[in-house]
Amino acid sequence: MDANSNRRITLLGPQRLAPTLASAVRGSGVAGEVAVVTAGWQEREEELDELREHLGGAVVNLRLYARAEEVFRKDRALARALRQRQERLQRMQELYRLRLSHAMEAARQLLTRRGDPELLTPEREAAVAAIRELDRAHLERVRAVHRDFDASLKPLGRPTLARQRDEIASLLAGCAAFAVAGGHVALLLNRLRLFGIAELVGDKPVFAWSGGAMVLGERLVLFHDDPPQGPGNAEVLESGLGLFTGMLPLPHGRRRLKLDDPLRVGLFARRFGDLACVAMDDGAILRWEGGRWTPTGGDGSRQLLPDGTVSELAA
């Protein structure tokens, strides 16, 4: 049985233009304050007026961005080690990206090539498998960096950080639900991981949107099909918090993905074939309950399929 099967998680599409958080919270029967993480907004972390108004004021800001800055000011050794770790991870990402670009190009060429299917099919499968293996190996190396870091620095045992974490735990204990906004996903994930938030959430209902939804899953995948620079190859960045399984949320799919390009859609879906790849736009609501996913929102959720099509996930 999945360790997360008892969790109740609601993933939402982007909230700026079509906010659905309040109705999702009400629909889940949550009564009480909602602890929110807006660390992905960085220096705008405290700007919660719109969110408070939307939720009727019942908001507790966990202030992970500011708390982390405070920890870094007081625990210089930890800050330095974190900076070194991030620099190492960035260099690893650059090397992975280099290999990835060639692997993706090979796969695209094979998938568009015409010829004898008997010859082409196994080559195509091998090309996609090679990308998967590249992703897997990269992810494993990144995990190893994090394991080494945790083993040598033991961040949660450091007094400054532990004090902040105790405060967070206390605030969370008084709240009926936990919510994570989007923003800068690497920074958001780092802050959530730094304070060990996954272990503090317990069985509270969880709500997350955009980048917030991305970091709670198994894998954090960066994506954009049409960036102004470069070929737009999606990249595995690292493991997510792992609060749910089986799904890769892709916020702003309409703007970030070429959903009418069967080659890109199909390759994306095959590459991350162990997860349901779901583009989430305004109005999308997906609910994880009892260890399975249910679309409960409007028409904002579309699943990318291996045959290159997309399928609406209607409520």
């Binding site: 992905g40 220096e43 705008r44 989007g182 800068h184 996903v185 955009s210 980048g211 954009h224 102004p228």
Partner: protein
Amino acid sequence: MSLAIQQLLLASPPGEEAIRQFLAAHRFPLVEGTSTTFVYKGGGDKVRLRHFIYGLPSSRPMKRVDGTDLWYVIEELPPGSRIEYKLEIVHGKDRQWILDPLNPFTARDPFGANSVCQAAGYETPEWALEDAEARPGRLESVEVPTRAFGGKREVVLYLPARMRPSRQLPLLVAHDGLDYVRYASLKTVLDNLVHRLEIPQLLVALTQSPDRLREYAGDRIHARFLTEDLVPWLEKRFPLQGNPAGRCLMGASFGGVASLATAWYHPGFYGRLLLQSGSFAFTDIGESERGPAFKPVVGFVNGFRAAPGKPVEKIFLSCGVYESLIYENRSLVPLLQTTGMEVRFVEARDGHNWENWRDRLREGLSWLFPGPLWMVYE
């Protein structure tokens, strides 16, 4: 397959009703593959297509269909081309340049407007059009004291939406900045690219010279104004990065010369340049034929070519292949590359005009200042 005009001409001469139907059935200029038919209906002794494509005769006579007042000329335009033109109507000794009455598309510049022909494959980039979802930045006028020129200079600032004192922004100084806003949609482009996370939030100083042909022609006083007056004044008052990587100069035509010259006179102060259709006239031998306004430009460019140095880290250049300056710009690129600077050069099938410069802004700005689009999902 014959062109629509050729079909019309099968009836010789075509009747008034057939011409009316022909004009009603199509948009003009009529683009059919790589063939583009320019059409004019009206009186005149002669009618000419006056376009601004360097390399082709700039005046192309239009042919009158016998027995009618319909004129036409067919041009072969490569895919993706965008050209600006006017029609010249000749009555006796009178010559009148007019916008194409059959073409609703025009492009404006400080001298007026031109008709625009968009060949097959050209589309106005959607990131240059207003996007209701993009949070708008605002324009704010400031007066900057200047020791270089004496007195004060008015500069308009573009302040991005959601600017916060806690985040230090890069600074972009745009020569002819208000013209960029008026004719190249610079504010809309900045709003959109910031919204799409393709560039970071930028503070942009939109400068407008009262005497650009002098001040932008490699003038050291103008370079001092930017480097010793404007930039320090802004960095004291706004949350700016205040380092070379966070300082960029941009400009088109003479504005490109001013940008390069300012960086060259103050090496290491600026880190980025965006140069569009720069008027980089030079001579290897003899005198330049470009006229007196270019004389100081030639002096500066010749000096730069003799000892380019490495004034900045990254330079983005663009130029239209239908403008005469393509030669100068192409000549400059290998020289820049020898200095160790990161150089990107982009050509377009377009001319020396503001929409060409607009259409290259996304590529240039996002290369010089990559935004956080891979990391931020709001």
